[in-house]
C-alpha cells in the first residue's frame, strides 16, 4: 500500500476489524474477511495499475471526507418519482443507498420469482451458488472492498423458464446528511430459459453532502436465458461512482447491456466484465456517454471468451462537450479453446469541447486461430456539411447539433428494446444538447 492511500479518510476504519463494520449475524464473515485481505494486499489502484492508467481514483476519493456508511436510510415517493420514465409500464423497486424500501416498491411476485433484499436472501439457492463467484469481482480492488463491507442490495432469482411480464425499473436513491461512501451489492440470477428486463436509474436529492457509490452487480444468465440490462446514469454534481457489473453466461444465453452515462456526475467509472462459460451465446454491450463540464467518464469493459462459438458485439459512442474527459478500454480475451468466436468492438467519439479528451484503448488478446475479431476507434467533429444543411433549413445551431448528436447515437438508441425508454433517452440527449 502506498503512503498516499492513508490520506483517504475512511481508510482508518478499514484497518479496524471487519467484524466491527458488519452486522454480527452476518453469515458472510469469512468471505468478507478474505476479500478485505485481498484488498489490503493490493490497496487502491494507482495510475500505475494497468486498468486505471487514465483515471486517478485516489484523487476522487480524497475530494471529500467520506464516511463508510451502512445505516439504512429512507426516501419519499416524490424523490423516487424523479426517476419516472413517461409511458414506462414497469415494476418499480426503490433502493436507498442500496437498502430496499418496500413501501415505494412493487415487487413482482409469482412461482419461481424471488426478489428481495440481499440481506434477506442469503439462504436462496442462487445466492449460495453464485455470490462472489465471478473472477473479476475477486480481482478488482474496489469490488473486494465492496464484498468486505457492503451493507445491502437487490437479489433477483428467476427459476427455470420464468419470465417477468414487465420490465423491472430499479431506482437507486443516494442520500446522506454527511459525505458518504456507500456500497450497494446486487446479485441477479436467471436460471435456464428465464427472461427479464431490468432498467436502472439513479436519483440524487438536492443536498450538500456528496455520495460516493462503489456498487457491484453480479449477473448470471444460465442456459438459454435472456437478460436485457439497462443502466441509465443520470447523475448529479453531488455524486461519484464506481460501478462494477460482472456477468456470467451459460450456453445459448443472451445478455444485452446498455450503459448510458449522462451529465452531471463528476466522476464515473464503469467496470463491465462478461465471462462466457457456455457456447453459442450472444452478448451485446452498448454504451453512450454524453459528458459536459469537467466530467470524467471511464468505461472499462472486458469480454472474456472461454468457449467456442460465441458472439459478442460491443459499441460505445461518446459525445464530449466542454472539458469532459472520457476513457474507453475494450479488452477482449479469446482463449485457445474459443474457436469460431465472433468478437466485434467499436468506439466512436465526437469531441465538441475545445478541451474535451478521449483516451481509447482496445486490448485484444486472441489465442484461438479460427476467429473473427475486429475493433475500431474514431474521434472527430460534426460533419460541417450536415450542420450547414440543417441550418440552411432554418434549424438553429444548437438544435441542429442536438439532432446530429441523436443521429450519432442512434445506432445504440435504436437497439433499446423498450420504446418508452428509447424515447426517454433520445429526449434527454436532445434536452442536454439544447441547454
Amino acid at each position: 500500500m502506498t503512503s498516499d492511500t492513508i490520506m483517504i479518510p475512511f481508510y482508518q476504519a478499514l484497518t479496524e476489524d471487519v467484524n466491527a463494520l458488519t452486522a454480527p449475524q452476518d453469515s458472510l464473515q469469512e468471505l468478507r474477511r478474505s476479500a478485505l485481505e485481498r484488498f489490503s494486499a493490493t490497496g487502491l489502484p494507482t495510475l500505475k495499475t494497468e486498468a486505471w492508467r487514465f483515471t486517478n481514483i485516489q484523487r476522487f476519493l480524497k475530494e471529500y471526507p467520506y464516511e463508510l456508511t451502512s445505516t439504512p436510510a429512507t426516501t419519499t415517493a416524490d424523490v423516487a418519482n424523479e426517476a419516472n420514465i413517461p409511458g414506462l409500464d414497469a415494476y418499480r423497486i426503490v433502493l436507498v443507498n442500496g437498502h430496499l424500501q418496500a413501501d415505494l416498491s412493487s415487487i413482482p411476485e409469482g412461482k419461481g420469482i424471488r426478489i428481495g433484499a440481499m440481506s434477506a436472501s442469503t439462504d436462496a439457492p442462487g445466492f449460495a451458488k453464485w455470490f462472489n463467484q465471478h473472477t473479476q469481482v475477486n480481482g478488482e480492488p474496489l469490488a473486494n472492498l465492496n464484498t468486505a463491507l457492503f451493507a445491502d442490495g437487490l437479489f433477483i432469482e428467476l427459476q427455470a423458464n420464468v419470465s417477468i411480464d414487465k420490465p423491472i425499473h430499479l431506482i437507486h436513491v443516494y442520500t446522506s446528511d454527511r459525505h458518504a461512501f456507500v456500497q450497494p451489492r446486487h446479485l441477479w440470477v436467471l436460471q435456464k430459459g428465464a427472461t427479464a428486463t431490468v432498467i436502472e436509474s439513479t436519483v440524487h436529492p438536492k443536498q450538500e453532502a456528496v455520495a460516493f457509490s462503489n456498487c457491484v452487480t453480479e449477473v448470471v444468465v444460465a442456459d438459454n436465458a435472456e437478460l436485457w440490462h439497462y443502466n441509465v446514469q443520470q447523475g448529479a454534481e453531488n455524486f461519484r461512482q464506481v460501478n462494477t457489473t460482472a456477468a456470467q453466461q451459460e450456453r445459448d444465453s443472451r445478455y444485452h447491456h446498455f450503459n448510458i452515462t449522462l451529465p452531471n456526475t463528476p466522476f464515473t467509472r464503469n467496470n463491465l466484465s462478461v465471462v462466457l462459460h457456455g457456447s453459442n451465446t450472444e452478448t451485446n454491450l452498448k454504451g453512450i456517454y454524453l459528458a459536459t463540464g469537467n466530467q470524467h467518464v471511464d468505461n472499462y469493459t472486458f469480454m472474456n471468451h472461454l468457449v467456442p462459438n460465441c458472439n459478442s458485439n460491443e459499441h460505445y459512442k461518446g459525445v464530449l462537450l466542454e472539458n469532459a474527459n472520457a476513457v474507453f478500454t475494450g479488452r477482449i480475451h479469446v482463449h485457445q479453446e474459443a474457436q469460431k468466436t465472433n468478437a466485434f468492438q467499436q468506439n466512436n467519439n465526437i469531441l465538441m469541447g475545445d478541451k474535451a479528451t478521449i483516451n481509447s484503448q482496445p486490448q485484444l488478446e486472441i489465442y484461438a486461430d479460427d476467429v473473427k475479431c475486429s475493433h475500431g476507434f474514431t474521434a472527430g467533429q460534426f460533419s460541417e456539411d450536415a450542420l450547414f444543411y440543417l441550418r440552411a433549413r432554418a434549424i438553429g445551431e444548437e438544435a441542429a447539433k442536438a439532432l446530429l448528436v441523436n443521429a450519432f447515437t442512434h445506432d445504440v438508441t435504436d437497439e433499446i428494446a423498450v420504446p418508452a425508454l428509447q424515447e426517454y433517452i433520445q429526449g434527454q440527449i436532445e434536452a442536454i444538447m439544447n441547454n
Binding site: S383, E384, D385, A386, F388, Y389, L390, R391, A392, R393, A394, I395, G396, E397, A399, A400, L403, L404, N406, A407, F408, T409, H410, D411
Partner: protein, 254 residues
C-alpha cells in the same frame, strides 16, 4: 426582393466572386448559367451563408434586410431556401422529424405557435402529393440511401413545406434522368406564384424548357457577363460559351 451589389467573395484566399450585381424582383424566375468553375454554386453558397466563404466586398439585401449579417438559419427563417446540388445524407435523423423541426423553427421565428401533429400531417400529405414525393421515404433517415432523383425530389418537397419567398435551385437537374427532371420541374411550377422568386442555377438549357425563366444571366469568372431572356439560353445551347468568353477577354485586354 433580392438585391446583390458588387459582391466579392473568396474561399481559402482564392477569389471566386468578383463583383456580382443582380436584382431579382418578386415573382420572377432568373436562370444563372455558365461554364464549370464560373462561380455559380459559390454564389448560391454565399447567399445561403456557408461559412467557408468570406465576403470581401459588396452587399446583399433581402426584403430590405442585410442578408450577409444573418446566420444561415435566420436567412432560411426570413425566407431564403437553397436546394442543394448535393443534398447531405444524415443517418439517424428521420426525414419527418427533421421537417417538423424545420417547419416549427420558421413558425416560431414568425411568432406563430408550432403546428399540432394533425395539422403537420395534413400539410405533409398535401405537399407530398403536390411534388409527387413517395410516402415511404418520409420515415426513412434524411436522404440516407436515396437515389439521386429521390434526393432532388426531397429538396423540392422541403421547398414546398417551408414555403420560402426566394428559392435558389443549385443544379437541381444534375444527375436526373428525363422523368425525374419532369417531376422535379412540375413540382417547382406548381409552387410558382406572384410572391415567390426563383434563382435557377444550371449548366443546361434542358431544365429551362420545363422551368421557363424570365431572365437568363451568364456567369463567367466570378462576374455576370451577359443578361438576356430565355432565348439567350437557346443561343448558349447552340453556340456554347466560347463566344461570350472571347468577348469578355477582349473587353479585359482593351
Amino acid at each position: 426582393m433580392l438585391t446583390i451589389k458588387n459582391l466579392h467573395a473568396e474561399v481559402e484566399g482564392k477569389k471566386i466572386l468578383k463583383g456580382i450585381n443582380l436584382e431579382i424582383p418578386k415573382g420572377e424566375i432568373h436562370a444563372i448559367m455558365g461554364p464549370n468553375g464560373s462561380g455559380k454554386s459559390s454564389l448560391a453558397s454565399v447567399l445561403a451563408g456557408r461559412d467557408n466563404y468570406t465576403v470581401t466586398e459588396g452587399e446583399v439585401w433581402f426584403n430590405g434586410k442585410n442578408l450577409l449579417e444573418m446566420s444561415p438559419e435566420d436567412r432560411a427563417r426570413e425566407g431564403v431556401f437553397l436546394a442543394f446540388q448535393y443534398p447531405v445524407e444524415i443517418p439517424g435523423v428521420s426525414n419527418i422529424n427533421f421537417l417538423k423541426t424545420a417547419v416549427n423553427e420558421v413558425r416560431t421565428y414568425k411568432g406563430l405557435p408550432p403546428l399540432e401533429a394533425k395539422e403537420f400531417l395534413k400539410l405533409t400529405k398535401e405537399k407530398q402529393q403536390l411534388v409527387d414525393f413517395n410516402t415511404n421515404l418520409m420515415n426513412r433517415s434524411l436522404n440516407e440511401g436515396f437515389s439521386g432523383g429521390e434526393k432532388k425530389r426531397n429538396e423540392i418537397f422541403q421547398l414546398a413545406m417551408l414555403n420560402p419567398s426566394l428559392a435558389i435551385l443549385d443544379e437541381t437537374d444534375s444527375g436526373l434522368d428525363i422523368d425525374a427532371l419532369r417531376i422535379v420541374s412540375n413540382g417547382v411550377n406548381k409552387l410558382r406564384d406572384a410572391e415567390k422568386s426563383f434563382v435557377v442555377i444550371t449548366h443546361y438549357q434542358r431544365l429551362l424548357e420545363y422551368i421557363v425563366p424570365d431572365f437568363v444571366h451568364v456567369l463567367y469568372n466570378g462576374r455576370i457577363i451577359k443578361t438576356g431572356t430565355k432565348e439567350l439560353a437557346l443561343e448558349l445551347e447552340e453556340k456554347g460559351y466560347d463566344w461570350l468568353k472571347e468577348a469578355e477577354h477582349q473587353k479585359e485586354s482593351v
